[in-house]
Subunit: 197 residues, 2 copies
Amino acid sequence: MDVNILLFPEFETLDVFGPIEVLGHIKEYSLHYFSLNGGIIKSRQNGLVVTEPIEKADELGIILIPGGQGTRSLINDGEFIKQLEKYAASATYCLTVCTGSALLAKTSLLNGKKATSNKKAFAWVQGINSNVKWMRKARWIKDGKYYTSSGVSAGIDMSLGFVADQFGHTMAMDIAKSIEYLWNSDKNNDPFSENGH
Amino acid sequence: MDVNILLFPEFETLDVFGPIEVLGHIKEYSLHYFSLNGGIIKSRQNGLVVTEPIEKADELGIILIPGGQGTRSLINDGEFIKQLEKYAASATYCLTVCTGSALLAKTSLLNGKKATSNKKAFAWVQGINSNVKWMRKARWIKDGKYYTSSGVSAGIDMSLGFVADQFGHTMAMDIAKSIEYLWNSDKNNDPFSENGH
């Protein structure tokens, strides 16, 4: 199955490459980097990543949406949100990290669903769509095919949780051990829920 | 000060972008991505990153050397090791993650110094240079200007430790909180030292 990473200018580096480190251990997954129109995309941390246009993505893949400073203007980019809605709706699973859930909330796809986001940006994210059941205290949340995580590093924990759901807890633990990572495997254990308060 | 990231084919994604997420929070640091000859470099996790030739790097910067599968052949690339030795010798600080310490050990720069590496690959790394004081049980090690870390995620802890040494513990804690990361701040606390045994 394809994992389709949707990048945009000023995305937050670890929002992408934490989950990718985890998902890259799954033999059944093939990793692909996209953006709205393709080309080189610059991260918040000055990295230049080569992407293909999103229209080349397998619509039935897993879509991964990072957050970052770039989301602040991107929620007003109608064409981006339209394409995101198309590919997130058709995806088998949709994973967001940090303020990536703000982008997804701007579509109607999270309406009535539980979701979380970066805790420092939580008030801003909530204001984007009040029809989402925003949960402050959660390391990550699964609601149907939608996985949303808290800020930055939480994306690693969520990705391991996603792997556990798909392939079992042992597989997730093996990956965590392989990358020498102490997995916070309890999605309700959110040490940063009071950030920004 | 410049942070010069030295990439190579099949580098491990999180070895780079974990530390970069941390160091990217320091206003005084400017992040630059290099490789031996410049151009697009493909990570182990299929990411394509644009780089400049290493000869354009500030020799007095901080150099960051990731590990990954690519190191297995790269230790036999004389031109790469020669350039690595030049820039690591002149750098103000030199940070390696995972098997990046194998590359650095292939130069003479770690001779007589304490260093660590990925625990699953530890026997291979030790075999590259027995004049290095290899320490199995360490999350990361500082010996003079050289910082070496254990596998993958340990690079995040080491980078926060480096920030603590340079700017104080509070700054490191603030960054960890900002990226919602539970920092293992004790460099002697190595939960994975028995990996590979």
